[in-house]
Subunit: 438 residues, 2 copies
């Protein structure tokens, strides 16, 4: 073999950036991989539009099969996203013995069991660093550098769109969720249909992959408790400030012995927490290992170039293995495929944490006593209460921070509080991660 | 082979932590490495004192040779530090075809050319993640995950002792360098002889390794411009605050085409810079890649357990390569040994940056004009001036921030200013990293 020929399926923003870096850093990458890396073929439905890079038109095709079936292609890079046809292309590459690099978190989260098993059985590699946190080499760090650690806690900001929006709400007092969503859409940070991002689904996809790497547990994304940010009001943001918190959409993994607490939800964290400074479109992964202690990885979680940085990192790793004749040295999820379990995630009811609870209640004597009475009956201990404003008629928001309470108790309390005739609308809860709040 | 037998040379804090994690995570590490990892032999001058871990006394020896010559030992872990005898042990391990894991930055910085060349020629691996930034997997990230990037800028806090001291000076107005040094010594963060830390030498050792990994350039530590923190006064800390800066001891690498600017010096950075929040004994590495953009890695840079986390990560990596029969897949410095150059570091005179300049001058008409006149003649443009306090007799400090100026011009200006009869003592300069200050 004189060179490593790469076949690209998908020639959009990330694909163009991958080609660009392979071209402009040709010499360094050759030195590092051990052989020249060449883009041999590119498939995309659109092969007419101009891209930011110049490529020989003869390598372009509208038919992905031409990439998969080309015997000279050693590595297939899948960048079209979504479950199908991406999944079929990846599986076909494996069948043909070709390793795959992908940034497709939806595919790996939804069909991970099938895809990783197929790679394992075919004895080929799959690189997917670009699927989580863009250019931050977090997956490789979990799989290799931090392999000595049991991970006590992982808190991660993994969706730049949501983080941009929450940062905007934090920095512009009173601005509504709808306004920042429109702003994010105008800037190209949010899709026309933003559901995947704002409802936390994209974050859950990434969480599924991190959970595999940190704990050897693989569960489908739809078995994870997921809450998005669309219910967050300017008032909650203001209250968070009052308590010296910031609201971030977090992917959370907390170890309890052999079990793990896993969820995605908007979370209040102290302004002094390292993640509180991860603002705008940036991503951040905070983790606590039993050996390494606290760590934070911070960087750009999306965009063509950061993702291409991760994709090319994977290409070089696989190329090194091809040059040295040994693929599969490190299992893609850090654990051998047969060592991955599909159990161990605690039911949401069983978790305990601190809560922010907002109740819209009539401003009338005895109301606070009735609400806090229910909380006491549900074994929920109140850390602080704030009742803001005073309307002579109508309702006012009452906000509680709780000591550690059980989710099941909180849910029961909410139901009972919502049923009170002095309360308007369902109470709002938000979970808190604050080591100083017991 | 039924297991990987590890030989430890050095059984202090880090060594004990390595043994502890190998014991307590035996099953996970076996699953991840592919074979059981066993500590086969441990050499230390002191084999009597109790350690935090229990080991079979029969594996203890006071003679490092017994580790090196034991044919059952597959990986040698060197944790005694210093240049000798550590260097001889490492070279002897290579001669015997044994890969080495070390956390010895002094050895690798001072004798890197010899050590890495010997590993290369023997065809064995050397792992040294623990030598830089403790438990943060920064070297592996530079070598693998971020391999697609040209690194435009690296700014790094790599010495926890200095960072603890600078944080203490920042948080306690007026406290002197001597006081915080004593405090650091009392807490065990600083050695009785703190020179290596506070004079920036330890930081320079780590910089040498990072420079190899980011730019393929290897120069001896003593060819790098190094300034420590012992000259920093409470007044400078106060002035930094006045300008919304923090003072951090930074390892700095800035790319200028094929040349790099490389130095270690106390640096003023804006309080909004990600590194400004890296406080206390923590380390942080900020880097800007042309593809990945801005990244920050944050974590514990020293201590038994964080360093052991890195050491065991290296052990598992090497074990995986032994199991799969392929060492040397990734060159230890990211570039092939023959691709590393020993040129490309700019002379200090040729760099340009922003400066903080403090002059102790007589409080008398015309003095400011004479000082700023010299600066103008040296082509140094002043961004701002502060003259603090007013003593009717005696001298006052006058502080300048400059626009971008050449180091050579600043040095010449200092000399001329120091020679003025209205100036007391040599002027103090500190370099600034602030993208908003042109």
């Amino acid at each position: 073999m004189k060179e490593i020929s790469i076949g690209l399926i998908g020639f959009g923003t990330i694909g163009s950036s991958v080609v660009k870096v392979l071209q402009q850093s040709r010499n360094i990458l050759e030195a590092r991989a051990g052989l020249p890396l060449r883009v041999g073929r590119i498939a995309d439905l659109d092969i007419e539009s101009d891209r930011a890079v110049a490529v020989d038109r003869s390598i372009l095709t509208t038919d992905a099969k031409e990439v998969l079936e080309d015997p000279s292609i050693s590595i297939v890079v899948e960048l079209i996203g979504g479950s199908e046809p991406a999944g079929s292309y990846v599986l076909e590459a494996f069948r043909r013995g070709k390793p795959v690099v992908t940034a497709n978190k939806a595919l790996l989260a939804e069909r991970g069991a099938e895809i990783f098993r197929a790679a394992y059985e075919a004895g080929v590699e799959i690189g997917f660093e670009g699927a989580v946190a863009g250019g931050i080499p977090i997956l490789r760090s979990l799989r290799e550098g931090l392999v000595a650690n049991r991970f006590e806690k992982v808190l991660a900001i993994l969706n730049g769109t949501c983080n941009f929006m929450l940062t905007a709400m934090d920095q512009n007092t009173g601005v509504s969720f709808e306004d920042v969503l429109r702003q994010a859409q105008d800037l190209g940070y949010a899709e026309a249909d933003p559901t995947l991002d704002i409802e936390g689904i994209d974050t859950a996809h990434k969480l599924v992959l991190i959970l595999c790497l940190t704990h050897g547990i693989r569960v489908p994304a739809d078995e994870i408790h997921v809450e998005g940010i669309s219910g967050i009001s300017p008032f909650d943001v203001e209250m968070a400030k009052e308590f010296s918190y910031k609201i971030k959409l977090l992917a959370i993994i907390i170890r309890h012995g052999e079990q793990v607490e896993v969820r995605v939800n908007p979370t209040m964290i102290p302004v002094s927490h390292p993640l509180a400074r991860v603002d705008g479109v940036f991503n951040g992964i905070y983790l606590k290992g039993d050996m390494a202690g606290d760590q934070l990885f911070y960087g750009r979680g999306a965009g063509g170039e950061p993702t291409a940085s991760a994709v090319v990192g994977d290409i070089v790793e696989i190329a090194r293995n091809i040059v040295h004749g040994h693929p599969g040295r490190v299992p893609p999820l850090g654990y051998p495929e047969d060592g991955i379990r599909n159990t161990g995630v605690m039911s949401m009811d069983a978790i305990s944490t601190n809560y922010y609870l907002r109740v819209q209640a009539l401003d009338r004597p005895g109301v606070l006593s009735r609400i806090s009475g229910i909380m006491a009956e549900q074994r929920i201990s109140i850390h602080s209460v704030i009742q803001k404003g005073r309307h002579l008629s109508g309702t006012v928001p009452v906000v509680f921070l709780t000591h550690t309470a059980k989710e099941a108790d909180i849910q029961e309390a909410i139901k009972r509080i919502a049923a009170l005739d002095v309360v308007e609308g369902p109470p709002v809860i938000m979970r808190i991660e604050d080591d100083n709040l017991e």
